[in-house]
Symmetry: C2
Subunit: 192 residues, 2 copies
Amino acid sequence: MAGTKDRLLDSSAELFRRQGYAGTGIKQILAGAQAPFGSLYHFFPGGKEELGAETIRASGRLYIELFATIAAQAPDVPSAVRDFFDGAAQTLVETDYADACPIATVALEVSSTNEQLRQACAEVFDGWIDGATRYFCAAGIGARRARELALNMLCLLEGAFLFCRALRSTEPLRVAGASAVAATRAALAGDT
Amino acid sequence: MAGTKDRLLDSSAELFRRQGYAGTGIKQILAGAQAPFGSLYHFFPGGKEELGAETIRASGRLYIELFATIAAQAPDVPSAVRDFFDGAAQTLVETDYADACPIATVALEVSSTNEQLRQACAEVFDGWIDGATRYFCAAGIGARRARELALNMLCLLEGAFLFCRALRSTEPLRVAGASAVAATRAALAGDT
DNA sequence: CCCAGATTAGATAGATCGCTCTAGTAGGAT
DNA sequence: ATCCTACTAGAGCGATCTATCTAATCTGGG
């Protein structure tokens, strides 16, 4: 069995992405992790807020790794983008439209209410944007164009997640994915 | 002074978009509306949930009207899209990155936890997608293409809102807006 | 003027919140 | 064997949550 600290992070990550930060109680996190009350404050003396910040950063790292794994298996860059969107749609259906972006729900909740958590989200998002930009740069796209493509892809993905979850449909993700793939191809072809 | 019911809806709309549904307390809503406790349960016997559902629908209607107002003043369709994104960025800066999408925060929170509120969000989103699709159709874009364009524009907008708020930057909105305008032009030109 | 319905006003109930506290156990180092 | 640190365990605190309740106060029609 994984260590208690990891179980706490896993439990809170799953609950935060589904019902947000404010909507998730400490006791619910502990029940999910099968951990006693004392353990939480042993590993996270800062309480819920510290657990939240660490959960956000850990979830962000995991999501980068997911993209890297998919990209490594794809034959080319547009295929990687397509596979990433397809995989997201599949996960969405498999989890009854619960598991989309690991931190978007929390990010919107805390952006205007909790500076520490907002910064954790900002760090994760910056890492995603930089990572995607470098990935596109490595494929031969110019730096400026690569960053725009990265931002467009991520905006399309996050927006589609929002609509898919509320509408209980994968249509937004399919349309946005097709658009992201087309934009990637255009950038690779050097179109202005 | 506006009626108490409207003040309650306005107050909750402002608070929900900034800190979400679970993160907003009834007392906070009442303080914002300068209304007594009894009034809330007089106008909304269903309590917080009924107020939430009505707030979501009212906010959704207002946002459609905002787009219609901007579109009516724009000389052509791409300009309307551009002005909408520009206006969103301006509002974001003016409100210290607080006022973005009126219901996205709530939508992500409730999509997996509260079926009644999820449905209210779904209705609003459906209305936005249909409205934008009809707008693009009226400009001469084929029905299927118009719906894809509408979804892409809305996904870009919502995703950009998320990143802008967390990163405290308008860059995502500017990049996404440029992309939406380009997609609109391409659709109008009949490109495949 | 008076009555009835609409609305205001806020005390309070009962549950749940995040968190602190003390006490206990497990396991390795010496 | 003992001791020390790491961790487990959960009772309980004060605060806050949503919601209910009763009473007071408007306001328009007869």
